[in-house]
Structures are given as structure tokens and as C-alpha cells.
Amino acid sequence: MSVITEQVSTSIEALMDEFYIITHNLANVSTVGFKRRCNAFSRVLEGQESSEEYSPGSINLESAFDFSQGGMVETGRELDFALFGRGFFVIETAAGPLYTRNGTFRTNQNGQIVDGEGRIVSGEAGPITIPANVSLSQLSVSSNGSIRVGDTAIGRFRIVDFGENESKLVPVGASCFLMPEEGIVPVAAEDVVVKQGYQESSNVRIVDELVDMIMVCRLYEANMKFITAQEETSNSIMGVAMG
């Protein structure tokens, strides 16, 4: 009997985690550059329904980020950049580099390109400074990330790719990711196109999330039914035993 309770409580806990993940994805449906978390749990359960072996604790809730491409939304703003393809912008912080797909940049009082928090966006050769006598409307950014004013190049965005190690990135909020493992060095991204005047919208698909949410609610209910059923069973057994 206690095995059932244990199994039920494991899956209820996992379902709750999944519900949190879904609500977080839904809250970020309009966050630029946001990458949804996969909620693999319901899929794992689906897979296990058919398999014969089932033991509590074997549920491997693999909640990795879904780094698939978000939509391209045109804003027309000179300092909005969207990445199409694999790659991240690099943000310089005192605690080391952060990686982001949110290319809503600004300039600071010194004319350097910074992110929304005022942290410097890394260029191939240090921070990118827009000369004081240049207006933002004169900037043109080519698809490889190099920034030009007329015919003069003033810098190039550093865009990196983690390849296989992408799944090891850890989110730190503000659409930024951190690479916790020291040994992993990103390489320059190759298959990526920078688009000026666009933002990459969140890759959360509302319908998918809602379907998952319904699934989680139903599974949760079903698990609760188990507890009720177990209670009834034990009651009736007690009834038989006590006469």
C-alpha cells in the first residue's frame, strides 16, 4: 500500500514542477529572446504507460531549454537586433560573460552599445562605440554582425555558439544564460544571421502550453483519484478484517 502512496506523491511533485514551468513559459509569452523550457514530464509518463517496468523515482524530469528559433518581429528601431539561427550575443559583466538572444540594445552616455541593464555588449574587439558625430539612423548592420557607418566599419558583434553544449547553459534571468562549466569555450557562430530592426519573439507557443497544462491538470486529478481509491480500499479491507 505504501508503495502506491510513494509513487503517487512522486508523480504529484513532478506534476507540480511541470505546472510551474508551464506558468513561467506562459508569463513570458511576450518576452523578447525568451526560450521556453520543455516540459518533458508528461511525455515521459506517456512513454512509461506502455513500458512494463515502472519504479518510483525512475522518472527523469529532463527539463531542458528549447532553443528553437522564435518569430521575427519588425520594430524598425536601429538598435534592435534579432538572431536567426544558432548563436548568442555576449554580454560582459564583472562576473564573466553572459549569453543572450535578446538583442534590444541601447547606447550608454559614452556611446557604447549596451543591453537593457546597461551592461556592455561584447564586440569582436572589445566594446562597440558609436562615434559622437554619427546618428543612429546612419548605422547599418550586415547579416554577419558587422556594424558600419557609411563605408567605415566601427565594430562587429561577437556572436558565439555552444554546439552540443548548449543544453548545459543555465538561465540567470533577464533573458541571459551562463555557462557554469569552465572548460566549455564557445566558438564563433557560423550559421547565424543578424537582422537589424527586428526582435526575436519568445518561442512559447500558447496552444502547446495550454495543451500541456490541461494534461498536467488531468494527470494530477487522476493521481488524486488514486489516493481516494486507496483510502476506500483500505477502508473496505478494514471492514472485512474487523467483521
Binding site: M16, H24, A27, N110, G116, N133, S135, S167, A174, E221
Partner: protein
């Protein structure tokens, strides 16, 4: 469950803020020199439920950890300084800046403010003022005997007097900022310098990256009605979906409490 409620609530608050920003953009669809705002959302901090690389069974480690996010926040609004449409008015004192630059006006307390609204007027003393009556900087006085006023592309104010002689009475200067999005909006179409905007650089229209001045035109708002309405629909739907998540969470809680009270 409380976490899911507060996460969905952050989503609803953020969408509400987006509606506020859109409403202000839409309200200013006919304001001269108005620049629309764009709201920037960021995901909130993540709570690490399980680190990546944790051993779940002997010899088996999780490939990815389990971090659960706590929602979204509106990080900032950004003014988008794309040019608005130019509308021909035929009034010689209406000026539009095509390209970069702001006009400067002096407040009664001597401070400077910046604007793209070029609907200038003449006050009783002949000074060129904006429509709030603040004189432009540097001050330009149009003589009372002027028959016609003509503003050149470089901002020079040419005056023809009764005898037909043309003289230059002053030049309108433009100002630029390293980070115009950092300017703070003061209402009345005026912007103020902040630490984030950087120090203003003055110059002549048409030089060093400054825009040119078009007399007889006004720059309209750069708000695109259709874009704003589409954004409004998006915000409304996203709000709805977040409230749906709260309801689903509530249903789950009810299921649990039903069992508890049996």
C-alpha cells in the same frame, strides 16, 4: 502552488503594463513629434530545484538540471526614435527635422528642454517660441517690420522687411545625444537630459550627422495604428492565458483539498 499563482500574476501585471504603454502610444497618434514607446520584458530569476549532473540512480546523472523560473517583469520602456511622417502645413514657422536632432527651448527657470515638435510661433516681443510659449535656444527675435519669414534647410532664419531687404536674424541650432532613448519625457512634447542620455552636442542642421530642417512641414507621431492594435490584441490574449493558468492552479488545489477534507 503559490509559486504558480505568483508567476502567473507577474505575467498579468506585465501584460497590463504593456496595455498601458500601448494606450499612451495610441492616445498620441496625432501628437506632433511624438515618439512611440516600446516595452521591454525580462524573465525573472530562476530557482534551482535540482542541479544538473545530480545522481538520480547509481551511475545515472541528469543531463540538465531543473530550474524553475518565477515569471516576468517589465524591465524598461524604450522610446523609438524612428522618423514620423512629415505633414505639409504651409506655415513658414512650422519646421520639421528630417534626420537626427532636437530643438532646444528654455524654460522660465532657465533650464533647457528638448523637443521634436517644430510648431513654432512668434510671441508679443517677436521672439520665436514653441507652442507652450518657451523661447527656443539660441533666442531668435523676428523684427516687427518683417513681412515674411523663411527658414532655410540649415536652420537660418531669413527675414524680408518692408523695403524688400533680406537679412538673417539667427540660426536655429540642433542638439544630439549619444543615447536619445535615455532622455526623460516631461510631457508637453518636451524631453529632459538625464545621466543615461549623455551630454548634449549642439550643431548646425545638415552638418556632422544632424538632420536638415524643413520649413512648412510638421513631423507627425511615429505611432503606427495597426501595429499598436495588433500588439494590443497580443497583450490581451496573453493576459487571458495567464489568468487561465491561475484558474487551472486553483482547480488543482481544489482537487487536493477535496481529498483532505473527506
Amino acid at each position: 502552488m503559490l509559486r504558480a499563482f505568483s508567476t502567473a500574476a507577474t505575467g498579468m501585471t506585465a501584460q497590463q503594463m504593456m496595455v498601458d504603454v500601448i494606450a499612451n502610444n495610441l492616445a498620441n497618434v496625432n501628437t506632433n513629434g511624438f515618439k512611440r514607446s516600446q516595452i521591454d520584458f525580462q524573465d525573472l530569476l530562476y530557482v534551482e530545484m535540482r542541479e544538473s549532473g545530480t545522481e538520480v540512480a547509481s551511475g545515472v546523472t541528469t543531463p540538465g538540471g531543473l530550474e524553475i523560473g518565477s515569471g516576468v517583469r517589465a524591465a524598461s520602456t524604450i522610446k523609438v526614435f524612428t522618423p514620423g511622417e512629415l505633414q505639409s502645413t504651409g506655415r513658414p514657422l512650422d519646421i520639421a527635422i528630417t534626420g537626427d536632432g532636437f530643438l532646444q527651448v528654455t524654460l522660465p527657470n532657465g533650464e533647457l528642454r528638448y523637443t521634436r515638435d517644430g510648431a513654432l510661433q512668434r510671441n508679443a516681443d517677436g521672439e520665436m517660441v514653441n507652442n507652450m510659449g518657451y523661447p527656443i535656444e539660441p533666442a531668435i527675435t523676428i523684427p516687427t517690420d518683417a513681412v515674411s519669414v523663411d527658414i532655410g534647410k540649415d536652420g537660418s532664419v531669413n527675414v524680408t522687411d518692408t523695403s524688400g531687404t533680406v537679412s538673417v536674424v539667427g540660426t536655429i541650432q540642433l542638439v544630439r545625444f549619444p543615447n536619445p532613448s535615455g532622455l526623460s519625457s516631461e510631457g508637453d512634447n518636451l524631453l529632459a537630459e538625464t545621466e543615461a542620455s549623455g551630454t548634449p552636442m549642439t550643431g548646425t542642421a545638415g552638418e556632422n550627422g544632424f538632420g536638415t530642417i524643413q520649413s512648412g512641414f510638421l513631423e507627425k507621431s511615429n505611432v503606427q495604428m495597426v501595429t499598436e492594435l495588433v500588439n494590443l490584441i497580443n497583450a490581451q490574449r496573453a493576459y487571458e492565458i495567464n489568468s487561465r493558468a491561475i484558474r487551472a492552479g486553483d482547480d488543482m488545489l481544489r482537487t487536493a483539498s477535496n481529498i483532505a477534507v473527506r
